[in-house]
């Protein structure tokens, strides 16, 4: 079985993102870029499945500018067997990303597609669900546990009410939550080896994907800030400050 993993290039988790003064976007110049942390968890899960012998190939896919090759190389260094970049110079919305993934699925015929539940840049939380719809296959979103057996997947999902367990027929789309696993660190020799692994570059227009935007971003603004609070030095003053605000009535 092949596993397709989708890796999005995003501003690193540790960067405090700032909006440009003219409201045209967020500052990305000179900012560290990384694999979306949820996608890194997706890759780790795929590698573990392959290492258990339940899959024989892990393919890493990214969609975006040519710089995404850096994140794909990191994915190859983690252990993906080969990588595909679908190059796109303009913004790719979740629906267009899902349509692009469909093109790759038709070519590669994977038994499982694993991707992050959301990207930490646009926080959309859509692509996996949209892909499952277009593919007409089951989805196991927000997965914190994944077990494969006899062509089926048992997925434990982190939902608002607790943990929901569903059973899916493969092929299926899984989106990862934070507690699914802890991704491995990349070792230097693996970075060297990754340079020799195959990385194919396709163009999104060659795939015939409609990239017209459904949703146009007009402006970016910093979030409203909360008014400066007060520090108190005792529990008595804490309680009286809370009483003053009518919070304990």
């Amino acid at each position: 079985m092949k596993i397709l993993v989708c890796l999005k290039r995003v501003v690193d988790y540790n960067v405090r993102v700032r909006v440009k003064p003219d409201g045209s976007g967020v500052v990305t110049e000179g900012v560290k870029m990384s694999i979306n942390p949820f996608d890194e968890i997706a890759l780790e899960e795929a590698l573990r499945i392959r290492e258990r012998g339940d899959a024989n190939e892990v393919i890493a896919l990214s969609i975006g500018p040519d710089d995404c090759q850096q994140q794909l190389r990191t994915g190859l260094a983690m252990g993906a067997d080969r990588a595909i970049l679908v190059s796109a110079d303009t913004a790719v919305e979740p629906l267009a990303a899902a349509r692009t993934m469909m093109q790759i699925i038709e070519r590669e015929d994977p038994g499982l597609v694993i991707l992050g539940k959301q990207a930490i840049d646009d926080d959309c939380n859509q692509t996996g669900q949209m892909l499952a719809a277009l593919w007409n296959r089951p989805q196991g979103t927000f997965a914190s546990k994944l077990e494969l057996k006899d062509g089926r997947a048992t997925v434990t999902r982190e939902v608002d009410a607790g943990l929901e367990v569903i059973d899916l027929e493969l092929p299926a789309v899984i989106t990862t939550d934070l507690r699914l696993n802890e991704p491995r660190y990349v070792k230097l020799p693996d970075i060297m080896k990754a340079k020799k692994k195959p990385l194919e570059v396709l163009n999104i227009s060659e795939l015939g994907v409609d990239t017209a935007l459904n949703v146009q971003v007009e402006t970016y603004a910093p979030p409203p800030t909360r008014a400066k609070g007060v520090m108190v030095d005792s529990v008595e003053s804490l309680v009286s400050a809370m009483r003053d605000k009518g919070l304990l009535g």
């Binding site: 405090r16 993102v17 700032r18 909006v19 967020v26 979740p94 629906l95 539940k117 840049d121 646009d122 926080d123 959309c124 939380n125 859509q126 669900q129 949209m130 892909l131 499952a132 719809a133 007409n136 089951p138 989805q139 979103t141 927000f142 914190s144 999902r157 939902v159 608002d160 009410a161 607790g162 943990l163 929901e164 367990v165 569903i166 059973d167 899916l168 027929e169 299926a172 507690r179 459904n214 949703v215 146009q216 971003v217 007009e218 402006t219 603004a221 910093p222 979030p223 909360r226 609070g229 007060v230 520090m231 030095d233 005792s234 529990v235 804490l238 309680v239 809370m242 919070l247 304990l248």
Partner: protein
């Protein structure tokens, strides 16, 4: 005039409060009709909850055995089929809405707007990105159908009107896949107030130190009639179950009072509490980032402060 369809969330019984918040968002769209659809095997309780809400025009129930559990693969094709008659399809930005709506949008061949926090016009909305570090204003074309999830912390629940909206039973013609099977729900919460609806929330972080120590957080919460939340660190460490996690990837909440004990205040946590009325923070570390957003801060050991707090509150 435009028509809005809201996907109701329920637990097989009553209506989830997130639905009433979607109604408040829908009310800002100047629509001619706001319909609420309940997919269930027995929809009566959720439907009467929705019918009682002010501004709701009609409640539509789609009752069939396959709808007994909230499976996206089953609900999405039915919702997508119904969407043909509507200009807007809204769902709460809860794990339920996030699971179902993108699947329905893709089936309908349109994009989705996630986490609407403000309606600026019938075609213009605001939503947070980068864990709330930036707010974008987005627009959609005049003739486009809008699928959107509603950031529930941004809206009050619609009030109940004196007159119940009509409830109509509907049968939807859509092929339902059988490749997804519901197994079970392991519920973590107890009888405490629902975190996303609670007026007060008491939260603990890594500083609480253990599952056992979390008892002090629960005790204080019970005393205040509050829901209990936690930071990702506390959930990862196994102190409390996942459904208590507050933050970018957990629950986004807007209680009147949020009390954070032993939570340092990572940006991903803060994004979950920004809409709280008053934030009270107690932490040993005077430099903890939680104090930057706290309305009232107190530096100290939570294990000394909570018992004292209970004593003072008792007076």
């Amino acid at each position: 005039m435009s028509k809005v369809l809201i996907l109701a969330e329920h637990d097989g019984g009553g209506l989830n409060p997130s639905t009433a918040k979607c109604v408040s968002c829908a009310a800002e769209l100047s629509a001619a009709a706001i319909d609420v659809v309940v997919f269930a095997d027995a929809a009566a309780a959720a439907a009467s909850g929705a019918a009682a809400l002010d501004q709701v025009s009609r409640v539509l129930t789609v009752e069939r055995e396959e709808n007994a559990h909230p499976l996206a693969a089953v609900i999405a094709p039915q919702l997508a089929a119904m969407a043909a008659d509507y200009d807007y399809v809204l769902a709460p930005s809860t794990t339920f809405g996030k699971d179902v709506l993108p699947r329905a949008a893709a089936l309908a061949g349109v994009g989705q707007i996630s986490d609407i926090m403000a309606v600026e016009g019938p075609r213009r909305f605001r939503r947070p990105i980068y864990a709330g570090n930036a707010i974008i204003t987005v627009t959609v074309a005049d003739d486009a159908k809008v699928f959107a999830t509603v950031r529930v912390a941004s809206y009050p629940a619609a009030s109940e009107s004196g007159v119940a909206a009509p409830i109509e039973s509907l049968s939807v013609d859509a092929a339902l896949p059988a490749y997804t099977r519901y197994v079970e729900l392991q519920s973590g919460g107890g009888d405490r107030p629902d975190l996303q609806a609670a007026r007060r929330v008491v939260s603990g972080g890594r500083g609480v130190g253990s599952e056992d120590n979390f008892k002090v957080i629960f005790a204080l919460a019970d005393r205040l009639g509050a829901g209990v939340g936690a930071s990702r660190a506390a959930v990862d460490a196994g102190y409390v179950p996942n459904d208590m996690q507050v933050g970018q990837t957990g629950k986004i909440i807007a209680p009147e009072l949020y009390m954070a004990f032993g939570i340092s205040g990572a940006i991903q946590h803060l994004t979950g509490i920004k809409d709280a009325g008053t934030i009270v923070a107690v932490n040993k570390d005077p430099d903890a980032p939680i104090f930057e957003v706290a309305d009232i801060g107190l530096v100290g050991d939570l294990f000394e402060i909570i018992p004292e707090l209970e004593r003072v509150l008792g007076n």
